[in-house]
């Protein structure tokens, strides 16, 4: 692939369209107040443009997992993702877990309540989203697999022990 053929340079996009919690979102790209700037992170767009403030920002630099959301089922950090690069993706946030009609909580959320798997609760949405990604890929994780899946999530209160129990208990294929 030599670089000399067909000399076009890369181009910017004018709109970005993706889904958030099953709903289609289309945003114009630009610097007007109603638009999304190309430098906006997904975390910023979720919180400030779409009003989905359940996604928390702790370090805003890729180190703590608080802003974890799912993109196409994978846990990613929304503070390290450009909104303009989400074209065509399916984004799921903590607000998208409960059943939209009945309001019934996701089994993971219920398990976090039942196990008091939080203290200050600020890191909890990110924890639940990392766990959600894990259970999506592995219905019966071992304790070590739970720890591995959550190893990028910061919690300073040390809710870890309760979280591990909550996730294992919520695993559909788990024995607990």
């Amino acid at each position: 692939m030599a670089a000399t053929n067909k000399g076009k340079t890369a181009k910017p996009a004018k709109v970005v369209a993706f889904s958030v919690n099953g709903k289609a979102v289309e945003l114009q790209i630009g610097s007007e107040p109603h638009q999304v700037e190309s430098s906006h992170t997904l975390a910023h767009t979720l919180r400030e443009t779409l009003g989905l403030v359940g996604t928390k920002i702790t370090c805003d630099n890729g180190a703590c997992g608080s802003c974890t959301v799912l993109i196409d089922g994978k846990a990613i950090l929304s503070c390290m993702t450009l909104t303009v690069e989400c074209q065509g993706k399916s984004v799921m946030t903590i607000e998208g877990l409960a059943d939209p009609v009945s309001g019934r909580l996701d089994p993971l959320q219920q398990s976090f309540i039942d196990h008091t798997a939080f203290q200050c609760g600020f890191c909890t949405p990110g924890m639940i989203m990392s766990a959600k990604a894990l259970l999506g890929e592995n219905a019966a994780p071992t304790e070590d697999e739970v720890k591995e899946a959550l190893s990028g999530n910061f919690c300073r209160c040390i809710s870890h022990y309760h979280v591990v129990k909550a996730v294992l208990a919520a695993a559909p294929g788990g024995s607990e």
Binding site: K56, N61, C120, G121, K147, F154, C157, H162
Partner: protein, 791 residues
């Protein structure tokens, strides 16, 4: 034995649980405001400098910028203890000090405006070590604090605030000792508790003199009081607390960010929000105090401490707000854990050109003991005293006395914690593992295990004042008015539990007022371990008061005396005769009943946490791994089992145990920059490295309030670090003197790196160290085998 209750002691759902797991809990940055501006802070590149000139004109011209403030623009609001720190000053005293404030229509524009402010500095020499700062000729941070020594004592604790421990006759005490040891140990890694939610504030100024603030704090009422005084008692302050994303004591003081938001709102007439970045949070908010102790202790063979003398030096960074309070409490706590008649312990708080230290879980005592207990250990080693036996013997006993923070003498009326320590030791397997001082508990090739124990407790569980109202409604529900936020301990739900138990109505029927200083009575806040006893007492008394009023009001309807009545689930009846009952509605449907409760300080009870740790040291790499933790405490009565377990598990994080293993704030020794102000380089414990933790919690009723409970959550972080230092020293056979026990320090202690940083011949060193350790272990094992045979 603990009593059986309907709610108390049962695991119940936190009232905010559903909000937390759905992302609906509203933390400061989640609240929407109309017409909001965003504030940013320009920070100093120099550790010590005068601002010679500031040109803000280019910043002001940037579209979207609404205000730029420098020290020349702001009122003379002065914080700190004593009041020496101007909100914006013409002098900067650490790298990151506030130089100017910007408000703009969004945070990005505010940030860009910072770059357009031109500042000319006159750089001054800076000082980063506390003993250097005390020397004649050292750079001086404040004219008001000659020698960089901070005025001792805090006015908040009264005129006789404890600043030292001096009593008895130390020379006589040393004369009676079987061993006298001295040493210098430091806990100077100025670890940072880093709650996930960064510090921040939203302020809305209304002319001429009123400001409403939305804060992230444990106790929003305290913010109101601090700011009222800071603003020269001329501004009416209202504070709203909301869910708080962690504090660990640090957010007790957020006066700077709150003042910045207030000033920018005053300048613009619009609400202004400032949320620190995580980098600012780490480099420009609150660190643990640095602690260095030179001490001399005398000890008898039976573990009696005959004398303690020495100097406790505390590095507070560029200013003190709470450090005097921490020293006062620390001076009290050292007496709680060392029953000794002869003391001459002096203290000094010193300013240096780094980010400030402030209030952190463990409040003074953790810092002090991390430096002091190792000195005691030197004497225990000399006399071959088992440290568990030592702390059992030396922790405060009923009838003992101590000077507490206000300088007064108190007689302890709590329980003896020896049984609790024994039970913890048994769970840990202390006796089987303890091989003597500087002896590993096990050796496997290059890996050596060691064990250690630490203890901490305070008489803060009854500090300061609390007030609460409980309002009863005719529909059988109630509301608790208490100005506390939920910062992770679950205490808002626990007070509901206490009120529910008094009123005998389901917890779901009780709501708690928002933590708004306008509607709630005085509340100091859930600091120290005071939440359960102090705040709980106010809530209980308010509920009892309301219940009494209710029963008195309806007693004639039941032809009974109020004291013969019971109420359960909103029904009132004569005790033992539930068949004839009336509803709370009997009070009348156009009425509520308001009960009031107050708690006044009580320093005669103390909590206690003992932490046992086992570590494994890889002597070839210097890496320390935490294998097992046992926390042992007595809570009097457990209020909420999962909540308590969470608090105790918290021993690892928030600059607790891990501040001895890998947590540290790294300061450039020459320029004063904090080099690891991010969450990759500042280390914190992950899910991948969770040691087993066993929590042994006894319930021996304590003469506190109706439920015989005391708080123990705060102190969970405190005994661990010193236990780690002991355990690693035992594992490697040499005393380590500094925290954290990095690979470099461990390898140095093992003699594998010499003082010049060069590597020693590893084969020789290994042979020497192994020979020494193996000989000792073998001797010990053989001795055990002998006695085992006899048994």
């Amino acid at each position: 034995m603990a009593q059986e209750y309907r709610f108390i002691g049962k695991p119940t759902k936190r009232q905010d649980a559903a909000a937390i797991v759905t992302g609906g809990a509203q933390y400061l940055d989640d609240i929407k405001f109309h017409n909001l501006l965003h504030g940013k802070v320009l920070r100093s590149p120099h550790a010590h400098a005068y601002i010679v000139k500031i040109d803000k004109s280019r910043a002001e011209q940037l579209p979207g910028v609404e205000a730029v403030l420098t020290w020349e623009d702001v009122p003379d609001w002065i914080g700190g203890t004593p009041r020496v720190v101007r909100v914006l000053d013409r002098k900067v005293r650490y790298v990151g000090d506030a130089v100017a404030l910007v408000a703009a229509k969004n945070a990005q524009i505010a940030k860009e405006a910072l770059a357009l402010i031109e500042v000319v500095y006159q750089i001054l020499p800076a000082v980063f070590d506390l003993e250097e700062a005390m020397k004649p000729g050292a750079p001086q941070l404040y004219q008001e604090l000659p020698g960089n020594i901070v005025t001792a004592g805090t006015p908040a604790f009264g005129r006789n605030c404890l600043t030292e421990v001096v009593m008895g006759d130390v020379e006589k005490g040393f004369g009676e000792a079987d061993a006298v040891c001295e040493g210098t140990f430091g806990y100077e890694n100025i670890a940072n508790p880093i709650p996930p939610e960064p510090p921040g504030a939203v302020a809305h100024w209304e002319e001429p003199n009123r400001v409403t603030l939305w804060v992230s704090n444990q106790a929003s009422y305290l913010d109101k009081i601090i700011l009222f005084h800071l603003f020269g008692k001329k501004v009416e302050v209202r504070t709203h607390g909301a869910a708080c994303g962690g504090s660990f004591g640090t957010k007790l003081m957020s006066w700077q960010v709150q003042s910045y938001a207030t000033l920018l709102s005053k300048a613009t007439g619009r609400p202004v929000k400032i949320i620190f970045t995580k980098e600012e949070h780490i480099a420009a908010f609150v660190l643990r105090p640095g602690s260095r102790m030179h001490a001399r202790v005398g000890m008898k063979r039976d573990g009696t401490v005959t004398a303690v003398s020495g100097t406790w030096l505390v590095d507070t960074g560029y200013y003190s707000a709470t450090t005097q309070a921490q020293v006062a409490v620390g001076c009290g706590e050292i007496q709680l854990m060392t029953r000794c008649d002869n003391w001459d312990l002096k203290t000094a708080i010193v300013c240096t050109n780094r980010n400030a230290s402030g209030s952190v879980r463990g409040f003074g005592g953790q810092e002090l003991k991390c430096s002091f207990i190792p000195v005691l250990c030197l004497a225990m080693e000399k006399l071959n005293i088992d440290p568990v036996e030592f702390i059992k013997k030396n922790y405060v006993k009923p009838g003992d006395g101590y000077f507490w923070r206000d300088g007064d003498w108190y007689t302890y009326r709590g329980i003896d914690y020896s049984d609790c320590m024994d039970q913890g030791a048994r769970r840990f397997g202390w006796q089987e593992k303890w091989q003597g001082w500087l002896q590993p508990s096990a050796v496997d090739g290059p890996r050596r295990r060691g064990i250690g124990v630490g203890v901490h407790g305070n008489a803060d569980i009854g500090e300061d004042s609390s007030e609460a109202y409980v309002r009863l409604h005719p529909d059988g529900s109630a509301m608790l008015f208490s100005c506390i936020t939920e910062h992770g301990t679950g205490q808002r739900s626990n007070y509901v539990k206490m009120v529910a138990e008094v009123l005998q109505i389901p917890m779901e029927r009780i709501t708690v007022s928002p933590a708004d200083s306008l509607v709630n009575p005085f509340e100091y806040g859930p600091f120290g371990s005071r939440g359960t006893y102090a705040i709980g007492s106010a809530a209980i008394k308010a509920a009892e008061d309301a219940r009494r009023q209710l029963l008195e009001m309806v007693a004639p309807r039941l032809d009974a005396k109020a004291e013969d009545l019971e109420t359960v689930d909103g029904m009132i009846f004569v005790r033992g005769k539930p068949e004839k009952s009336i509803k709370w509605g009997a009070m009348g449907y156009e009425r509520t009943i308001l009960g009031y409760g107050r708690f006044d300080p009580d320093f005669t009870l103390a909590n206690c946490m003992t932490t046992f740790v086992e570590v494994e040291v890889d002597t070839e790499t210097g890496k320390v791994e935490l294998l097992h933790v046992v926390n042992a405490t007595d809570a009097g009565q457990i209020i909420d089992p999962p909540g308590l377990e969470g608090q105790l598990n918290g021993c690892l994080g928030s600059s607790g145990i891990d501040s001895a293993i890998f947590e540290e704030t790294v300061l450039d020794p020459i320029s004063g920059h904090i080099l690891n102000a991010n969450m990759i380089d500042y280390k914190w414990r992950t899910f991948s490295e969770l040691p087993p933790i066993d929590n042994v919690v006894l319930e021996t009723p304590v003469a506190s309030h109706r439920f015989k409970a005391i708080g123990v959550g705060e102190v969970a972080t405190s005994p661990g670090p010193m236990a780690i230092l002991m355990a690693v020293s035992n594992a490697v056979g040499v005393w380590l003197h500094e925290y954290p026990v990095t690979p470099e320090r461990v390898l140095k202690a093992l003699g594998k790196i010499n003082a010049n940083g060069k590597v020693n011949d590893s084969a020789k060193v290994n042979a020497k160290v192994n020979a020494k350790v193996n000989a000792k272990v073998n001797a010990k094992v053989n001795a055990n085998a002998g006695s085992g045979g006899a048994a």
